[in-house]
Symmetry: C2
Subunit: 521 residues, 2 copies
């Protein structure tokens, strides 16, 4: 092992923290990810800054909370002025590449305002969130022109204008008619695509190709799998590798529906929640979800072997995580977004090749980690400035290298803007009035809801979050403390974005040097 020269930042989409064998899943086996954890540190209490792809990823890429980066939901472009990994690493001569999903939407208005020429290299880079897109593919609709995947499929015999819809997310129905994986009732069937041509396989090979092409040039690769995110259609043999008996028990009970929070009630009216509340649904979808994870794990095993062959395990910082989890029927919900552990807690493994990290290999660190820690960890590993006038996370290297710290965070924060969701219409809210902020400490999970009562869970006595105490007046003192935490957190957000602390230091009380002599008698 040696000094960090490269970064491999692996993200799964919608992978729950509890769906790994190293995290205790009793039936799902993830040997490659488990081996990764043995080479590094696993953080079982890692949380995303929002339980939905877009804002969560923008926090991963900027190192900033949602309220700071402002991309509050999937369809909200990240403001062009927000800096991402690419802004920090590219000036140091490190290629920052993307294979897979980012959910980055271009800030078209700003591109026009600054007169940035369409089709130019700068335009492409700014649109892509400062990633070089070696293959961009967001996974929730047919691959676009940024991806070679559709052509690849056609070259391999999947002849269709839309081979993704017809083969990758479709099963073979009666009379050869495709059955769409959009319908969750179909996902016990195998995809019509061969495993070797599936999304996970294709994107892993893209990653290997990029790494080989880089040779000895330093790189940072964001390998961003679109799985196990819906459509939950797995190719054989993963489609039926697991059965209903292999799934984790459902985390829900009837009591949860009594006196439920208004926004939660609205989410439970969403189609995905209604579908997952069907008695048969979890037993059909969860096995496919597990198969998709197992497939990712198998391909990660090949990828890590490939890295080892080329000596890259010795100089590559590897981060493995997900953008959020998936309810899969827990709490009578589908999808994510609500503040339960199933949605917000994600796998998080850091393999720091530096010899200073040898002492912590294979350990589990229970300290709180947030998605915003990825950027500062990478910056420190590469010896780059922390840019901490913008970056709100903390580097995890003192944890992997057992460097003494005065303190560590004792709470994590996550946010939601549900304005784009049907829940807003159900609740007859304005788009600007659909915000929520969670603070989770060791003991408590508190959620402030704009214009609704708060939620409160006692994680010591109710770790499964079945009993919302938010309308229980006897917890008013706890909620008041949590409100103070939220207020403090909001006041600490980094708003002075155009200049850093060194700039301030150099200009403090220096007006005379600028020819300004106010206050002299």
């Amino acid at each position: 092992m040696g000094k960090v020269r490269n970064v491999l930042f692996i993200m799964c989409d919608q992978l729950r923290a509890d769906h790994l064998s190293c995290a205790g899943h009793p039936h799902l086996e993830t040997p490659a990810i488990d081996a990764l954890a043995k080479r590094g540190v696993r953080f079982p209490r890692a949380y995303v800054q929002s339980g939905v792809c877009g804002p969560s990823r923008m926090s991963y890429y900027t190192g900033r909370y949602m309220t700071s980066h402002g991309a509050t939901w999937n369809r909200v472009p990240l403001s062009l002025h927000e800096k991402t990994l690419g802004d920090y690493l590219r000036p140091a001569g490190i290629e920052v590449a993307l294979a897979g999903k980012t959910h980055m939407l271009p800030d078209l208005e700003a591109l026009e305002r600054y007169g940035i020429e369409g089709g130019s290299a700068l335009d492409a880079l700014l649109r892509a969130g400062r990633f070089e897109e070696i293959d961009r593919y967001d996974g929730h609709s047919p691959p676009g022109k940024e991806s070679g995947y559709a052509d690849y499929l056609r070259q391999h015999g999947y002849l269709s204008d839309d081979p993704w819809s017809d083969y990758v997310i479709a099963a073979e129905g009666p009379g050869g008619k495709p059955l769409s994986g959009w319908h969750m009732r179909n996902v016990h069937l195998p995809a019509r695509v061969a495993e070797e041509h599936s999304e996970t396989a294709y994107m892993t090979r893209e990653a290997m190709r990029f790494i080989d092409e880089q040779g000895e040039k330093p790189w940072c690769l964001h390998l961003s799998y679109v799985k196990p995110h819906w459509p939950y259609m797995a190719p054989a043999p993963y489609h039926n590798m697991y059965g209903a008996k292999d799934c984790l028990p459902l985390n829900r009970d009837e009591q949860e529906r009594v006196g439920e929070h208004p926004v939660l009630a609205a989410y439970r009216e969403h189609e995905e929640s209604v579908s997952f509340s069907r008695p048969e649904a979890p037993g059909i979808v969860r096995p496919a979800y597990m198969g998709l994870i197992r497939q990712v794990d198998d391909w990660l095993g090949r990828l890590f072997a490939h890295l080892q062959d080329r000596g890259r395990l010795d100089d590559t910082l590897i981060l493995f995580t997900s953008d959020h989890g998936d309810f899969l029927g827990d709490h009578w919900l589908g999808e994510k977004e609500m503040f339960y552990e199933e949605a917000l807690r994600v796998p998080f493994i850091v393999v720091d090749p530096d010899p200073e990290a040898d002492l912590t290999r294979g350990t589990v660190d229970e300290r709180f980690v947030e998605a915003i820690d990825v950027v500062p960890t990478i910056l420190e590993a590469l010896g780059l400035p922390p840019n901490d006038h913008l970056v709100e996370g903390r580097s995890l290297l003192p944890l992997t290298r057992r460097i003494h710290l005065e303190s560590w965070r004792d709470a994590v924060f996550s946010e939601l803007d549900y304005s784009f969701r049907e829940a807003r219409q159900i609740l007859q809210r304005k788009p600007s009035a659909c915000r929520a902020i969670m603070v989770r400490t060791d003991r408590w999970k508190y959620v402030w809801w704009q214009d609704f009562r708060p939620m409160l869970f006692d994680l010591l006595n109710d770790p499964k979050e079945r009993h919302d105490l938010g309308d229980n007046a006897s917890y008013a003192h706890v909620m008041a403390q949590m409100e103070q935490r939220l207020g403090q957190w909001l006041r600490e957000r980094k708003t002075r974005v155009t200049v850093d602390d060194a700039y301030v230091e150099a200009r403090t009380a220096k007006h005379r040097q600028h020819g300004i002599f106010f206050g002299m008698w």
Copy 2:
């Protein structure tokens, strides 16, 4: 009077709310401003969003609080992505011009990042905060190349490389040696510049010229006087028009220095505070300050007569205000920045020429106004979209036009980042840990200080703010309420900056239209 076609947004620099005869000053006469108030509505409870030029002005120009626009002090550039008056009005074909001061610093990093060509029209516009600079001059150092003032002075016989330092802010000393107005002990003397060539005179003529040149084309002119800001050197006859006996009584007592707040104590160590605490200082500086105000008033009288001659009073919305006040020795302070009324409360007059506003002409409206109300007032007056996904203020037209409102704000907010000030060094703080936020309601003024105890003033029983109750435990319940107000306010900040509410409305629960069918059974 008629519909609004043009906007004249007049700002003084460092003009206290109580230094107008219409606001009750017993000796200072401001007949032109008083006449303006008679034609419109005067708002005696108007507050700035920060008690220092840069951030206050950025709030005026963006319609956003300091924590939202991020330009936290004078030397912090406004992020290029923040939209200003010019961004909103120019697309409607309205020229947005500046005569005088903006304190706008260019966001050089962003200009470089976006590859914006130096010297291009776009570059100039972006650097200038989207104002067309007909004459830009910030007033606290010799006029730069953006202003014609230095050349003008030389053309009128003030022969010097730096006629501003040698004539405009200098008095004639013994043996013809200039005595600098930077030294406040000199400001009872007349400036060496003739009144007709002084800053206020020059800039008013620039404004008149612009208005005439526009003819019937619509315009928005920001006439931004650099006075009565220091250097407090007034030209004859204004330099001794007032004497010490004409000044408002000093608002300070010895009791204020007992148990004083640590940041306040540090500010009282600043040179300007020490100088203003000299017994003779207020009686020398305040008369010059009053003379400079009287001079502004005289030129405003000429400007308004000019507008009337050309029929422009009938179709021009006029706003008159200041970027903050001036302690002038009150509370043992010089300058501004602290949260006392003398620094944060500013003159605020709106003349709405629309006949619908006839009912309110000459009235005084005691409702709370904030600097961020300027942009939405102008947008509504010109019939432009409110852009209220960004703009945080409220239009004042319902007030000038007596349109029924369900509610109005019951508090105002202001902020400080003292990281660039000597106080930070005195207190040994890091640049990122120097923030404060004030909430002022009808009864209370509460200031949260990062890592220091709060301040609290009971404005009912202590309108002069002599007794800080922030360390008095018997007011803990009041302070807890104020903390809640602050938390609520912070949660309402507008962070989704790239898309507006209509965008959200059009895309709510529309995933199927985008070919995304998640959640179907």
